[in-house]
């Protein structure tokens, strides 16, 4: 064996020199935290598909109400209770305007002499359900986003102050939170809605009145983790004041978790709005949200299932999309953190 090696021609070998000055060279471009997270998120197919779906739903919520020339509040009793009819698809045997009339399949559009198309049908008052669906989605999304933003602002400020200043301040603030967290969200929300004038603002306030607690606890825990680390000490030594340390040094580090948490607050708010509207405490007619539309649909489910079908589909899609994006973001922003 040893002999074989010795028989190899010497000239085929070349001495490799390690250049010690190049040892520290970085081959790959260095990525910021967010670029790195994006690389990881991009691999998560479910999250990416959800993002596309979500963008589509938001777009439809914005332009949907103007697409077909009907508006969501005009009542036209002559056109009431029409089933869905969509040009193009109608030839395939679905959404062709046929509906049940005393057990028989009848073209209700021909019978009522309606020439227009109602893509998702009409309700008992002859309002176009396609327009109402997207108007409702708009309202539901609006409520969810505003509630999530309020949660975010209050939660971050409360948790930030409590965590950063610590001591007596923290003690008092945490006692308050401990008591508030014992009160079931559902109870507070229902009680708040009962005493306020029903409407958009009431729902937003009711949802955010205890919603910020979760966020404040997470932010506080994170601030506690970071505030004694060297970079904060360095900033303080260099003369930064408290507000600058919080906004420039601590918050960027906590941002990832804030984003993740917001992604789970939004679907939660959508659910609560729909839930409240469903039991009759939410928005009042004629305004529509996904919850009121589902409630309307539930009442006529037996005869016109399509009234229920579309809003139920949209809310399910929204909830799934937000949850999947939240999961994806969590894995991407904080690979160590699981469930």
């Amino acid at each position: 064996m040893k002999k074989d090696i010795e028989q190899l021609p010497q000239e085929q070998f070349e001495r490799v020199h390690i250049d010690s000055s190049k040892a520290e060279r970085i081959e790959k471009p260095s990525l910021s935290f967010w670029q790195d997270a994006w690389l990881r998120l991009r691999k998560n197919k479910a999250a990416i598909i959800s993002m596309v779906v979500l963008v589509l739903v938001v777009l439809m919520a914005l332009i949907g109400p103007h697409l077909n020339g009907h508006d969501g509040t005009t009542q036209n009793l002559r056109h009431a209770n029409l089933p869905p009819k969509m040009p193009g698809i109608e030839k395939m045997g679905i959404m062709d305007g046929y509906g049940n009339l005393s057990g028989e399949k009848v073209d209700l559009y021909a019978m009522k002499k309606v020439d227009e198309y109602y893509w998702f049908g009409t309700d008992g008052l002859g309002r176009d359900l396609f327009t109402r669906l997207w108007e409702g989605t708009q309202i539901s999304l609006l409520i969810a986003f505003v509630a999530a933003m309020i949660d975010l602002v209050i939660g971050v400020i409360y948790g930030g102050i409590s965590g950063y200043f610590g001591g007596r301040t923290d003690d008092i603030m945490q006692r308050v939170v401990e008591i508030l967290i014992g009160i079931p969200t559902l109870i507070v929300v229902i009680l708040m809605l009962m005493i306020m004038e029903p409407g958009l603002m009431a729902i937003i306030i009711a949802i955010s009145i205890t919603g910020w607690i979760g966020m404040s606890r997470i932010v506080r825990a994170q601030i506690l983790k970071f505030k004694n680390q060297e970079f904060v000490l360095a900033a303080r030594t260099l003369g930064s004041n408290d507000s600058k340390i919080i906004s420039k040094h601590l918050l960027p580090n906590v941002l990832g978790i804030i984003v993740i948490n917001t992604m789970f607050t939004i679907p939660n708010a959508i659910f609560f709005e729909a839930f409240l509207s469903f039991i009759g405490l939410g928005l009042q007619p004629p305004s529509a949200s996904l919850g009121t539309l589902i409630n309307d649909g539930f009442k006529v489910m037996e005869f016109q299932p399509y009234v229920l079908l579309f809003p139920a589909l949209v809310i399910s899609i929204l909830m799934i999309a937000f949850n999947l994006i939240g999961d994806g973001l969590r894995d991407a922003l904080d690979p160590k953190m699981k469930d």
Partner: protein
């Protein structure tokens, strides 16, 4: 530990006191009056009714009386169901809600645990993706959407099970229980999956494999038991979800339970019943969360030590 439990109990009482006080004063600011449905009465008669229910006295006196009765466990008299005490109303409505809740809980957690285990043991296979997708559906789709779908297809289209009401024995409890079970099912499936994957990577599993234990034995005797402990922590949210769910699911299936009564008492401004049910739900959730925390400490010795020192 004793100190910790004592502290928690004190907090529970403070919380309940605050909820009771807040509920009482919020009720007073409500638009409408509980006796507005007695509109045929003239002023004298109204005064008599008000006197009978004790709502003619000044608010602080009413509050004191209410709190005194509450301390004895008396929730007052319903306005809508004349002459019935809220305690009796709750007691008569308890059974259906209780049955549904227990069934949903048991079914949901068992199926959820199985799904989670399959997903963890067959990680990154079709089974894993299937059960993870199912769990996402369960977490995302609101219970009332799921309930209406079940009612429409299984109940009214395929005629397999009763559409609603509570008069067909066990059969009428199946659909609402299923609708309620989706939440616990999804939560526990997700939770067990993450826990199992973590446990399967630990040293004692490697040891069990090295000493030649079968895959089944490892999964159930070693991994599962350790993955199960943290599952207790999700029981709190699950219980809260069941209460929320029961409000709509009982409404949808027309089940004479506490949730259904709560919603209808809101509609008719029945102050006493609203307050009684609110306090009942709050007490239930607070006690569940308390028990969960204590149980967790009892089962996992590491937490018990930490709790004792705190």
């Amino acid at each position: 530990m004793v100190k910790y439990i004592g502290k928690r109990i004190i907090y529970m009482f403070i919380t309940m006191f605050l909820i009771a006080t807040a509920t009482f004063f919020l009720m007073q600011t409500l638009p409408g009056s509980p006796i507005q449905s007695y509109s045929k009465l003239n002023d004298t008669q109204k005064a008599i009714v008000e006197k009978k229910y004790g709502i003619d006295k000044p608010k602080p006196v009413q509050y004191a009386i209410y709190m005194k009765n509450l301390a004895k466990g008396d929730l007052g008299t319903s306005f809508a169901f004349k002459g019935k005490s809220v305690n009796d109303l709750l007691a008569s409505r308890m059974k259906p809600s209780f049955i549904l809740g227990i069934q949903a809980m048991v079914f949901g957690t068992i199926v959820g645990i199985l799904l989670g285990m399959i997903a963890a043991l067959k990680q990154n296979t079709f089974w894993d993706y299937g059960s993870t997708f199912f769990a996402i559906l369960g977490i995302s789709i609101p219970s009332f959407v799921f309930a209406t779908l079940l009612q429409y297809y299984v109940g009214s289209q395929w005629h397999l099970l009763p559409v609603g009401l509570w008069n067909d024995g066990w059969k009428s409890s199946i659909l609402p229980s299923l609708a309620l079970a989706m939440g616990p099912l999804a939560l526990s499936a997700r939770f067990i999956r993450t826990e199992m994957i973590e446990v399967m990577g630990s040293d004692y599993i490697t040891l069990a494999k090295a000493k030649g234990a079968s895959g089944f034995e490892i999964a159930f005797k070693h991994a599962f038991r350790n993955a199960l402990i943290p599952l207790i922590t999700v029981l709190g949210p699950v219980a809260a979800g069941l209460v929320t769910g029961s409000l709509v699911v009982e409404q949808i299936f027309a089940i004479p339970g506490i949730g259904e009564q709560f919603v209808s008492s809101i509609m008719v401004n029945d102050f006493a019943t609203i307050m009684g049910t609110t306090l009942f739900f709050s007490a239930f959730l607070i006690v569940v969360i308390f028990i969960v925390d204590i149980l967790y400490g009892v089962i996992d010795p590491r937490i018990r030590v930490a709790g004792g020192k705190a």
